[in-house]
Symmetry: C2
Subunit: 164 residues, 2 copies
C-alpha cells in the first residue's frame, strides 16, 4: 500500500473527484466552473506533463491532491504555480501544509526560480496563513475579483515565493 505523497494515477480520480467537486461547489476558494461533469473536471486537474499531479494517501484514503507546473509558457515558464484540494474530512491535520511543502521542494528541484499563486481568495484565511507561514508574500490584491458564496465580492491575492 502506498502512503504519503505520490504521483496521482488515472484511477485515483474517482477518489479525488468527490472532494474536488465539493470544494468547488462550496464556492469559497476556486474559480473553476461549477457543475462540471467528472470528465470535464478531470481534464482541468489531471493535466499531462509538464504538469505534475500528486495525492496524499493515508490508510488507503486520499486526503488531498495538488497540481503544479509552469505559471506561464514561453518567457514566463521559470515561475511555477500550483493548486491544492484537501478533503473536508481531512482538514486541520496538516494535509495542505504537507502538500505545499512537497510542491515547494519539487519546484526548487525542478529549477523554477519562484512560485506564484495567482488567485488566493482573501477570505480563505487558512490558505493565506499557510502560504504566508511558508514564506510567501502578498504581491497585490485584486479587489472584488472573486464572488464568494458567503462573503460576496472579495479580493484575490497574488502570492509569491522566490526560490533562486
Amino acid at each position: 500500500m502506498s502512503e504519503g505523497i505520490r504521483p496521482a494515477r488515472g484511477e485515483d480520480w474517482a477518489r479525488i473527484h468527490p472532494f474536488w467537486a465539493a470544494i468547488v461547489a462550496d464556492g469559497e476558494s476556486y474559480t473553476y466552473p461549477e457543475g462540471l461533469t467528472s470528465d470535464a473536471a478531470r481534464a482541468l486537474w489531471m493535466e499531462p506533463p509538464p504538469w505534475r499531479v500528486v495525492v496524499l494517501e493515508e490508510e488507503g484514503r486520499i486526503l488531498g491532491s495538488a497540481k503544479m507546473g509552469p505559471n506561464r509558457p514561453g518567457r514566463g515558464d521559470h515561475v511555477a504555480t500550483a493548486s491544492f484540494m484537501v478533503a473536508a474530512a481531512a482538514r486541520g491535520r496538516g494535509v495542505g501544509r504537507r502538500l505545499g511543502e512537497d510542491m515547494i521542494a519539487w519546484a526548487r528541484a525542478s529549477g523554477y526560480r519562484a512560485i506564484q499563486f495567482n488567485a488566493v481568495v482573501a477570505t480563505n484565511e487558512g490558505a493565506v496563513r499557510l502560504w504566508t507561514g511558508l514564506g510567501f508574500r502578498i504581491v497585490g490584491t485584486v479587489p472584488e475579483a472573486f464572488r464568494s458564496r458567503r462573503h460576496g465580492l472579495v479580493g484575490l491575492h497574488l502570492m509569491h515565493l522566490p526560490l533562486a
Copy 2:
C-alpha cells in the same frame, strides 16, 4: 471596404499572424511560446466565444488585433482581460490606444465589473504608459517573472481598472 475596429474573421488570421509572430519572437512583451506554427498560434488568439477578437483595419491593412474575454471562469468571470498586438509598422499612431478604448467600452457594455491585465512587462514602457493613462493602476509587480530578450529578468505588472 471595412475600416476601423471590427470583429476578426477567420480569413484575417493570415494578415494577423505575421505581426503576431514578430511580436512574440521579439521577446519583450508576451509569454506565448516561441516558434509556434501558424495553426497553433491561431488557436491561442482566435478563440471562440465568450472570447471576442477584433482587428483594426485601415486602408485595407490590418494594423492591430485584440482578444478579450473573462479573466477566469466560474466565480471570477465578472472580471475581463485582454491581449493586444500592434504591427510594428503601425506603432506610434494610437492603434493600441484605440484598441484599448474599444476593449474597455466592450467590457463595460458586457457587464464586467473590472478589467485585469495579468502580465504587463515592466520594461514595456509604452504599454504601461498607455494603460495607466486609461485609468489602470498597478496592483502589484511579480519580480523577475519575465525573461526579456534585451533586459533579462524583469517584473510583470498586474494592472486593474474598476468599471462598476
